[in-house]
Protein backbone atom coordinates (compact mmCIF):
# COMPACT_ATOMS: atom_id res chain seq x y z
CA UNK A 1 0.00 0.00 0.00
CA UNK A 2 2.68 2.48 1.08
CA UNK A 3 5.02 1.39 -1.71
CA UNK A 4 2.32 1.99 -4.29
CA UNK A 5 1.47 5.37 -2.79
CA UNK A 6 5.14 6.34 -2.66
CA UNK A 7 5.75 5.26 -6.25
CA UNK A 8 2.74 7.20 -7.50
CA UNK A 9 3.79 10.33 -5.65
CA UNK A 10 7.43 10.05 -6.67
CA UNK A 11 6.46 9.94 -10.34
CA UNK A 12 4.77 13.30 -9.92
CA UNK A 13 7.40 15.01 -7.80
CA UNK A 14 9.37 17.92 -9.19
CA UNK A 15 12.72 17.82 -7.48
CA UNK A 16 15.41 20.51 -7.48
CA UNK A 17 19.03 19.61 -6.75
CA UNK A 18 21.31 22.47 -5.66
CA UNK A 19 24.95 21.44 -5.50
CA UNK A 20 28.14 22.87 -6.96
CA UNK A 21 29.73 19.44 -7.32
CA UNK A 22 29.00 18.02 -10.76
CA UNK A 23 29.67 14.44 -9.72
CA UNK A 24 27.38 14.77 -6.74
CA UNK A 25 24.60 16.11 -8.94
CA UNK A 26 25.06 13.15 -11.28
CA UNK A 27 24.84 10.69 -8.41
CA UNK A 28 21.82 12.40 -6.93
CA UNK A 29 20.00 12.41 -10.25
CA UNK A 30 20.71 8.70 -10.70
CA UNK A 31 19.56 7.83 -7.20
CA UNK A 32 16.40 9.94 -7.50
CA UNK A 33 15.57 8.36 -10.84
CA UNK A 34 16.06 4.93 -9.26
CA UNK A 35 13.53 6.00 -6.61
CA UNK A 36 11.08 6.72 -9.45
CA UNK A 37 11.37 10.51 -9.52
CA UNK A 38 11.14 11.61 -13.14
CA UNK A 39 11.20 15.38 -12.97
CA UNK A 40 14.59 16.54 -11.73
CA UNK A 41 16.07 20.00 -12.13
CA UNK A 42 19.58 20.89 -11.12
CA UNK A 43 21.52 24.04 -10.42
CA UNK A 44 24.92 24.82 -8.99
CA UNK A 45 24.18 27.67 -6.60
CA UNK A 46 21.62 29.51 -4.53
CA UNK A 47 20.88 32.18 -7.12
CA UNK A 48 20.13 29.48 -9.68
CA UNK A 49 17.86 27.76 -7.18
CA UNK A 50 15.83 30.92 -6.67
CA UNK A 51 15.45 31.26 -10.44
CA UNK A 52 14.30 27.63 -10.77
CA UNK A 53 11.82 28.04 -7.93
CA UNK A 54 10.32 31.09 -9.59
CA UNK A 55 9.91 29.37 -12.94
CA UNK A 56 8.89 25.83 -11.98
CA UNK A 57 6.48 24.22 -9.48
CA UNK A 58 9.16 22.52 -7.41
CA UNK A 59 7.91 20.00 -4.80
CA UNK A 60 11.16 19.31 -2.98
CA UNK A 61 14.58 20.96 -2.79
CA UNK A 62 17.75 19.01 -2.01
CA UNK A 63 20.51 21.49 -1.30
CA UNK A 64 24.13 21.49 -0.25
CA UNK A 65 25.13 23.86 2.55
CA UNK A 66 28.35 25.09 0.90
CA UNK A 67 27.27 26.97 -2.20
CA UNK A 68 28.78 29.89 -4.05
CA UNK A 69 27.43 33.39 -3.39
CA UNK A 70 24.43 32.26 -1.34
CA UNK A 71 24.90 29.30 0.99
CA UNK A 72 22.26 26.67 1.72
CA UNK A 73 21.21 28.39 4.96
CA UNK A 74 20.65 31.75 3.28
CA UNK A 75 18.88 30.02 0.41
CA UNK A 76 16.52 28.28 2.85
CA UNK A 77 15.82 31.56 4.66
CA UNK A 78 15.02 33.27 1.37
CA UNK A 79 12.72 30.45 0.29
CA UNK A 80 10.85 30.56 3.61
CA UNK A 81 10.66 34.26 4.32
CA UNK A 82 11.38 36.45 1.28
CA UNK A 83 8.36 38.58 0.47
CA UNK A 84 8.57 37.50 -3.17
CA UNK A 85 9.22 33.82 -2.45
CA UNK A 86 7.25 31.76 -4.91
CA UNK A 87 7.19 28.60 -2.82
CA UNK A 88 7.77 29.22 0.90
CA UNK A 89 6.41 25.84 1.98
CA UNK A 90 8.52 23.66 -0.28
CA UNK A 91 10.18 20.81 1.66
CA UNK A 92 13.94 21.37 1.92
CA UNK A 93 16.49 18.63 2.56
CA UNK A 94 19.99 19.83 3.34
CA UNK A 95 22.52 17.26 2.12
CA UNK A 96 26.05 18.22 3.10
CA UNK A 97 29.34 17.08 4.51
CA UNK A 98 29.31 20.10 6.82
CA UNK A 99 27.81 18.43 9.84
CA UNK A 100 29.04 20.66 12.64
CA UNK A 101 26.46 21.17 15.34
CA UNK A 102 26.13 24.91 14.72
CA UNK A 103 25.41 24.36 11.05
CA UNK A 104 22.72 21.77 11.84
CA UNK A 105 21.16 24.28 14.26
CA UNK A 106 21.33 27.07 11.68
CA UNK A 107 19.70 24.82 9.10
CA UNK A 108 16.88 23.96 11.51
CA UNK A 109 16.36 27.64 12.32
CA UNK A 110 16.36 28.53 8.63
CA UNK A 111 13.39 26.21 8.08
CA UNK A 112 15.13 23.15 6.65
CA UNK A 113 12.91 20.06 6.94
CA UNK A 114 15.57 17.36 6.98
CA UNK A 115 19.34 17.33 7.39
CA UNK A 116 21.41 14.53 5.88
CA UNK A 117 25.16 14.03 5.99
CA UNK A 118 27.28 13.26 2.97
CA UNK A 119 28.51 10.84 1.84
CA UNK A 120 25.01 9.70 1.01
CA UNK A 121 23.40 6.34 1.37
CA UNK A 122 20.40 5.56 -0.81
CA UNK A 123 18.39 4.36 2.14
CA UNK A 124 19.01 7.47 4.24
CA UNK A 125 18.05 9.76 1.37
CA UNK A 126 14.90 7.77 0.65
CA UNK A 127 13.84 7.95 4.29
CA UNK A 128 14.38 11.72 4.37
CA UNK A 129 12.36 12.26 1.21
CA UNK A 130 9.53 10.10 2.53
CA UNK A 131 9.63 12.03 5.77
CA UNK A 132 9.63 15.43 4.06
CA UNK A 133 6.94 14.58 1.53
CA UNK A 134 4.65 12.12 3.29
CA UNK A 135 5.06 13.03 6.92
CA UNK A 136 5.62 16.76 6.82
CA UNK A 137 5.67 18.52 10.13
CA UNK A 138 3.24 21.40 10.50
CA UNK A 139 4.67 24.74 9.53
CA UNK A 140 5.15 27.38 12.15
CA UNK A 141 4.93 31.05 11.38
CA UNK A 142 6.38 33.22 14.09
CA UNK A 143 8.39 36.36 14.47
CA UNK A 144 11.85 35.41 13.28
CA UNK A 145 10.94 31.92 12.11
CA UNK A 146 9.05 30.30 9.29
CA UNK A 147 9.44 26.59 8.74
CA UNK A 148 8.60 23.10 9.91
CA UNK A 149 7.84 22.76 13.60
CA UNK A 150 11.19 22.42 15.31
CA UNK A 151 9.65 20.41 18.14
CA UNK A 152 9.96 16.85 16.95
CA UNK A 153 9.40 15.29 20.36
CA UNK A 154 7.52 15.95 23.54
CA UNK A 155 9.93 16.58 26.39
CA UNK A 156 8.83 14.12 29.08
CA UNK A 157 10.50 15.93 31.92
CA UNK A 158 9.70 19.48 30.85
CA UNK A 159 7.99 21.19 33.76
CA UNK A 160 7.59 24.72 32.44
CA UNK A 161 4.50 26.19 30.91
CA UNK A 162 3.61 26.27 27.23
CA UNK A 163 5.50 29.09 25.58
CA UNK A 164 3.42 29.17 22.45
CA UNK A 165 0.45 31.45 22.62
CA UNK A 166 -1.27 29.53 19.83
CA UNK A 167 -0.84 26.16 18.17
CA UNK A 168 1.29 26.14 15.03
CA UNK A 169 -0.47 26.69 11.76
CA UNK A 170 -0.79 23.45 9.83
CA UNK A 171 0.11 23.97 6.20
CA UNK A 172 0.81 21.10 3.87
CA UNK A 173 3.19 21.10 0.89
CA UNK A 174 1.73 21.72 -2.56
CA UNK A 175 1.69 18.05 -3.46
CA UNK A 176 -0.78 17.36 -0.63
CA UNK A 177 -3.09 20.19 -1.46
CA UNK A 178 -6.15 19.99 -3.64
CA UNK A 179 -5.89 21.10 -7.25
CA UNK A 180 -3.09 21.14 -9.75
CA UNK A 181 0.02 19.34 -8.61
CA UNK A 182 -1.77 17.25 -6.00
CA UNK A 183 -1.58 13.48 -5.99
CA UNK A 184 -5.08 12.02 -6.26
CA UNK A 185 -6.04 10.30 -3.03
CA UNK A 186 -3.21 11.80 -1.07
CA UNK A 187 -4.70 15.16 -0.26
CA UNK A 188 -5.04 15.83 3.40
CA UNK A 189 -7.43 18.24 4.91
CA UNK A 190 -5.45 21.34 5.69
CA UNK A 191 -6.09 23.10 8.91
CA UNK A 192 -6.17 26.57 7.51
CA UNK A 193 -6.80 28.37 10.73
CA UNK A 194 -4.79 31.49 10.89
CA UNK A 195 -3.35 30.93 14.31
CA UNK A 196 0.31 31.62 14.27
CA UNK A 197 2.94 31.06 16.81
CA UNK A 198 3.50 34.44 18.41
CA UNK A 199 6.28 33.53 20.77
CA UNK A 200 8.49 30.65 21.75
Amino acid sequence: MHESRNAQAFERLNCLIVDGNRHMRTILKGVLRAFGIRHIQETTDGAGAIRELKSLPIDIVITEYALDTLDGIDLSKLIRTASDSSNPLVPIIMLTGHTERHIVAQARDAGVNEFLAKPISAEALYVRIISAVFNPRPFVKAKGFMGPDRRRHQLKHYKGGEQRVAPPELIMPRIWQEGEGAIPGLSKTSDTNSNSEQAR
Binding site: E3, N6, A7, F10, G20, N21, H23, M24, T26, I27, G30, V31, R33, A34, F35, G36, A66, G97, H98, E100, K118, P119, I120, S121, A122, E123, L125, Y126
Partner: protein
Protein backbone atom coordinates in the same frame (compact mmCIF):
# COMPACT_ATOMS: atom_id res chain seq x y z
CA UNK B 1 24.13 6.87 -24.14
CA UNK B 2 26.38 5.78 -21.28
CA UNK B 3 25.99 2.52 -19.39
CA UNK B 4 24.53 4.53 -16.56
CA UNK B 5 21.94 6.10 -18.85
CA UNK B 6 20.89 2.70 -20.14
CA UNK B 7 20.74 1.13 -16.71
CA UNK B 8 17.42 -0.29 -15.75
CA UNK B 9 16.43 -2.49 -12.91
CA UNK B 10 13.38 -4.61 -12.52
CA UNK B 11 13.65 -4.55 -8.77
CA UNK B 12 10.54 -3.32 -6.99
CA UNK B 13 12.39 -1.85 -4.05
CA UNK B 14 13.44 1.74 -4.90
CA UNK B 15 16.33 1.66 -2.44
CA UNK B 16 17.63 -1.57 -4.00
CA UNK B 17 17.37 0.04 -7.43
CA UNK B 18 19.32 3.04 -6.17
CA UNK B 19 21.98 0.77 -4.68
CA UNK B 20 22.22 -1.05 -8.01
CA UNK B 21 22.81 2.31 -9.63
CA UNK B 22 25.49 3.24 -7.10
CA UNK B 23 27.20 -0.13 -7.61
CA UNK B 24 27.27 0.54 -11.34
CA UNK B 25 28.75 4.00 -10.81
CA UNK B 26 31.33 2.48 -8.51
CA UNK B 27 32.33 -0.03 -11.19
CA UNK B 28 32.29 2.31 -14.16
CA UNK B 29 32.64 5.98 -13.31
CA UNK B 30 33.93 6.58 -9.82
CA UNK B 31 37.62 5.89 -10.50
CA UNK B 32 37.60 8.53 -13.25
CA UNK B 33 35.83 11.01 -11.01
CA UNK B 34 38.38 10.50 -8.26
CA UNK B 35 41.26 11.03 -10.68
CA UNK B 36 39.61 14.23 -11.83
CA UNK B 37 39.01 15.44 -8.28
CA UNK B 38 42.54 14.48 -7.26
CA UNK B 39 43.96 16.57 -10.13
CA UNK B 40 41.96 19.53 -8.87
CA UNK B 41 43.25 18.89 -5.35
CA UNK B 42 46.86 18.77 -6.53
CA UNK B 43 46.48 22.05 -8.40
CA UNK B 44 44.77 23.65 -5.41
CA UNK B 45 47.50 22.40 -3.09
CA UNK B 46 50.23 23.78 -5.37
CA UNK B 47 48.53 27.18 -5.40
CA UNK B 48 48.09 27.05 -1.62
CA UNK B 49 51.70 25.99 -1.10
CA UNK B 50 52.89 28.89 -3.25
CA UNK B 51 50.60 31.40 -1.62
CA UNK B 52 48.60 30.29 1.44
CA UNK B 53 46.02 33.06 1.36
CA UNK B 54 42.28 33.04 1.90
CA UNK B 55 41.28 32.38 -1.71
CA UNK B 56 43.67 29.47 -2.05
CA UNK B 57 42.57 28.03 1.28
CA UNK B 58 38.95 28.14 0.12
CA UNK B 59 39.86 26.46 -3.18
CA UNK B 60 41.84 23.78 -1.37
CA UNK B 61 39.01 23.20 1.08
CA UNK B 62 36.53 22.84 -1.80
CA UNK B 63 38.82 20.30 -3.47
CA UNK B 64 39.02 18.22 -0.28
CA UNK B 65 35.26 18.63 0.10
CA UNK B 66 34.57 17.19 -3.37
CA UNK B 67 36.49 14.05 -2.49
CA UNK B 68 34.92 13.85 0.96
CA UNK B 69 31.41 14.02 -0.47
CA UNK B 70 31.73 10.90 -2.58
CA UNK B 71 34.30 8.60 -0.97
CA UNK B 72 32.13 6.98 1.66
CA UNK B 73 29.32 6.26 -0.80
CA UNK B 74 31.69 4.09 -2.83
CA UNK B 75 33.39 2.21 0.01
CA UNK B 76 36.26 4.62 0.42
CA UNK B 77 35.44 6.01 3.87
CA UNK B 78 39.05 7.04 4.49
CA UNK B 79 38.80 9.49 1.59
CA UNK B 80 35.76 11.00 3.28
CA UNK B 81 37.41 10.98 6.69
CA UNK B 82 40.58 12.71 5.50
CA UNK B 83 38.48 15.18 3.51
CA UNK B 84 36.35 15.86 6.54
CA UNK B 85 39.38 16.62 8.70
CA UNK B 86 40.92 18.82 6.01
CA UNK B 87 37.77 20.87 5.54
CA UNK B 88 37.40 21.32 9.31
CA UNK B 89 41.02 22.30 9.71
CA UNK B 90 41.03 24.73 6.81
CA UNK B 91 37.74 26.17 8.03
CA UNK B 92 39.46 27.39 11.19
CA UNK B 93 41.34 30.03 9.27
CA UNK B 94 44.35 30.46 7.02
CA UNK B 95 47.15 28.15 8.19
CA UNK B 96 50.22 30.25 8.92
CA UNK B 97 52.67 28.49 11.19
CA UNK B 98 55.10 25.92 9.77
CA UNK B 99 53.38 23.20 11.80
CA UNK B 100 49.97 24.14 10.45
CA UNK B 101 51.31 24.16 6.90
CA UNK B 102 52.95 20.82 7.54
CA UNK B 103 49.63 19.41 8.74
CA UNK B 104 47.96 20.45 5.48
CA UNK B 105 50.78 18.68 3.66
CA UNK B 106 50.15 15.55 5.73
CA UNK B 107 46.47 15.61 4.79
CA UNK B 108 47.30 16.06 1.11
CA UNK B 109 49.80 13.19 1.20
CA UNK B 110 47.35 10.96 3.05
CA UNK B 111 44.70 11.60 0.41
CA UNK B 112 47.19 10.79 -2.33
CA UNK B 113 48.13 7.57 -0.55
CA UNK B 114 44.58 6.33 0.00
CA UNK B 115 43.59 7.05 -3.59
CA UNK B 116 46.86 5.84 -5.11
CA UNK B 117 46.80 2.60 -3.13
CA UNK B 118 43.01 2.25 -3.53
CA UNK B 119 42.59 1.70 0.18
CA UNK B 120 38.92 0.80 0.51
CA UNK B 121 36.89 0.13 3.63
CA UNK B 122 38.65 0.98 6.85
CA UNK B 123 41.97 0.08 5.27
CA UNK B 124 42.75 -2.58 7.87
CA UNK B 125 45.89 -2.15 9.88
CA UNK B 126 47.46 0.29 7.41
CA UNK B 127 44.33 2.43 7.47
CA UNK B 128 44.27 2.46 11.27
CA UNK B 129 47.93 3.52 11.44
CA UNK B 130 47.43 6.23 8.81
CA UNK B 131 44.36 7.71 10.47
CA UNK B 132 45.93 7.38 13.92
CA UNK B 133 48.95 9.37 12.76
CA UNK B 134 46.77 12.11 11.28
CA UNK B 135 44.64 12.36 14.41
CA UNK B 136 47.64 12.50 16.70
CA UNK B 137 49.25 15.20 14.51
CA UNK B 138 46.04 17.25 14.75
CA UNK B 139 45.74 16.69 18.51
CA UNK B 140 49.33 17.81 18.96
CA UNK B 141 48.69 20.89 16.88
CA UNK B 142 45.60 21.71 18.93
CA UNK B 143 47.36 21.28 22.25
CA UNK B 144 50.28 23.45 21.12
CA UNK B 145 47.86 26.12 19.90
CA UNK B 146 45.97 25.99 23.19
CA UNK B 147 49.22 26.32 25.16
CA UNK B 148 50.26 29.50 23.35
Amino acid sequence: MSALGKMSSSRDDPVARANDYLALVSATEYAGWVREDLSVLRAAYRAFHHSPDGDNVRALSAAFQALQDLGGTFDYPLISEIGYMAVRFLGQGVPKSPKQLEFVHILQEAMELVIGQRISGDGGEAGAVLMGNIRSAWDKLRSETAAV
